[in-house]
């Protein structure tokens, strides 16, 4: 039994088919990236998972079964539409929202104390939410998601409006939670963060699964027949190399079909150049994302 099992869900709104056919599982204690271009159906899929929308077809199992009030308390959700009560002090707002999750007042206060300190918001606890900066409100949203110590976190664009220091802080917190066995679904357009944090991903486009699985395996699958090289001096002309192109400060060597990277490495090592870097060229998630979505658009 996985914390989330989504099987062939579909959801339409009038004539608009927001989700056509999406299936995936999220394993306990993993950080799962839910990716897709704008309008791909990510938010609708999340809302279906959380029982805000009922699917037109398909099944969703949360902690092994349908959603219940008890299960809602085990989930922390930070939606795409940011929402906190603007006209009340931060502390009161967070305690109220925690009370709706069934957290006893004393425990909520104790948890909140730690989070406010950790996120550098302790001195702002009595300020009205609307008086906080965007970055502070974003951190307050994250605290709200974590305050009731959920087992499953669904978090949409957690890094928006954060400076590098706070971005690292949020990444650290999410990493710690994963290490403690908390399951995290993260939806974001920041591919670099997904590459850094997520174990597995699902890429949705036009309401359908496009890519799904282990992130490293997906990247390997998309790696071309090429290597990245940094070298002192001019590269020798080798029969095994089809084309040399610059690539982010490196040289990308596209190999002939019957050649292996090991053979090229041997040839380069035998030449007179000073080889500083040699690695198999694996595309970034960003490149894979663009490639897959563009392929989808041209179909």
């Amino acid at each position: 039994m996985h914390p989330i099992e989504v099987s062939q869900i579909a959801k339409s709104f009038g004539s608009i088919q927001a989700v056509v056919d999406v299936s995936f599982e999220v394993k306990k204690g993993e950080m799962f990236g839910l990716l897709g271009p704008n309008g791909a159906g990510k938010t609708t899929a999340i809302r279906v998972i959380l029982d805000i929308f009922q699917p037109d077809q398909g099944k969703v199992a949360i902690f092994g079964g349908p959603m219940s009030d008890e299960k809602k308390d085990r989930i922390g959700y930070m939606p795409e539409e940011r929402g906190l009560y603007q006209d009340i002090p931060l502390e009161r707002c967070l305690l109220y929202l925690a009370s709706l999750k069934g957290v006893p007042d004393q425990r909520a206060r104790e948890n909140l104390e730690g989070h406010l300190e950790r996120f550098y918001l302790a001195e702002h606890r009595n300020k009205k939410v609307k008086e906080l900066s965007k970055g502070m409100q974003q951190k307050a949203q994250i605290i709200n998601t974590l305050l009731h110590q959920p087992e499953l976190i669904i978090i949409d664009e957690p890094f928006t409006a954060l400076d590098p220091l706070n971005l690292q802080l949020v990444k650290d917190v999410l990493g710690e939670l994963r290490d403690q066995g908390v399951t995290i679904i993260m939806s974001t357009h920041q591919m670099q963060q997904v590459e850094e944090l997520c174990d597995r991903i699902l890429l949705i486009d036009e309401g359908k699964n496009v890519l799904y699985g282990d992130l490293n395996k997906i990247r390997q699958r998309f790696s071309g027949h090429a290597v990245l090289v940094q070298a002192g001096g001019k590269l020798p002309e080798l029969a095994s190399i089809k084309e040399i192109t610059p690539h982010n400060g490196d040289l990308k060597l596209s190999l002939e079909e019957n050649t292996t990277p090991q053979e090229v490495l041997k040839e380069l090592a035998a030449s007179s150049i000073n080889l500083e870097k040699f690695e198999i060229a694996v595309p970034t998630l960003n490149e894979i994302f663009i490639q897959v979505v563009e392929e989808g658009d041209t179909k």
């Binding site: 009038g14 009922q54 308390d73 929402g83 906190l84 009560y85 999750k101």
Partner: protein, 408 residues
Amino acid sequence: MKRVLSVARYEYRRNVFKKSFLLTLLSIPLMVALGLGVGLLLVSLENNDRSVGYLDQAGIFENPIPPPLSKGEEPVDFIPFQTEEEAMASLEAEEIQAYYLLPADYFETQRIEIVYTEKPGENANRQWWDFLQINLLSDQPTEIAYRSASGADVTVRSLDGKRSIADSGPAFGNLMPLFINMAFMGLILMSSGFLMGAVAEEKENRTMEIVVTSISPLQLIGGKLLGILAIALTLLVSWSLIVLLGIFAARTMGIGWFQDLGMDWGVILATGAIAAPAYVLVSALMIAIGTMVTTTQEGQSFSSLFIILHLIPLYIAFAFIEKPDSSLAIALSILPFTSLMSTAMRNLFFSVPNWQIALSVGVQTVCAIGAIWLASRAFRLGMLRYGQRLRWRSLFQNQGAGERGRNP
């Protein structure tokens, strides 16, 4: 239930601990006090307690009997003068406000002269005529003289003898159901802002999506409704305390109408029993409307509609006076919106049967429960439709799959 109470407590604190609420709380009693104050001021300006003189050349006041007084009324002194010069000197010295001259041929002519520099007070004038009347009857036994001077005293009673209104007008207690109606309408007007705001706040702050992943829409709506009911109760209790203080002050000051309140607790209880679910009904509908419309202003226009519906019985008041047990009167006493005012008005002239009150409470309660369901359904459908209107028809479509509609 704990979470419902949590929502209710939040809603209560959000609205009550504000300066604007204090203004709301005090506005109605202040307006009433201002109205009463202006009225009392006008009356006091019309009255003049200074003495009044008279010259009795007709021999009516040989052994003067004082005039009968209304409850709480201050007596005006009537001073006899032997000559007109003495009376005039006293008038000019402002010892008296006027003097009456009863000529020797009064019984033939029935003419009296009055001399004044400024128009005398209404109370002085009224007491003078009572004074004259009772002394003209001085040859009669005192009781008969006073009774005659008091004039007709008609008490209107209902056929079953359970309702009566004295000649002096209905007692405070008779009008109590109507006061409850006024308070009810005041509450609707006052709380419409709270009710609309309760939903609008969630939409405007984009908190809907977080809240509904913690509690169900029904729990959220129930909690909000409970919180606003508590606010309404706070207003009612505060207003009632202020009214009680006012009554106490009026009784202490000896104002006649408040001496015998004539409270009929059975009628008051029945009115309250209908008012409670009727208020829940209107409140729940207002929350539903707040969820469906796009702006708070648009929603508030609906509160006027509820007031108009509530006032329908007033427009056909003659029908209630003429026949308070007619089919129309019974129907309006049971139907939602018109029930409270109809029952209150009928109770003025007629003892409304208990079965009709019980049926009315039942109908209001069922409608209130239905309205709560409707509100939670409207909320579930409209909660994520920022800036979009929800249609009534869609509330009753796709039973059990309430989220279908346009993508928010």
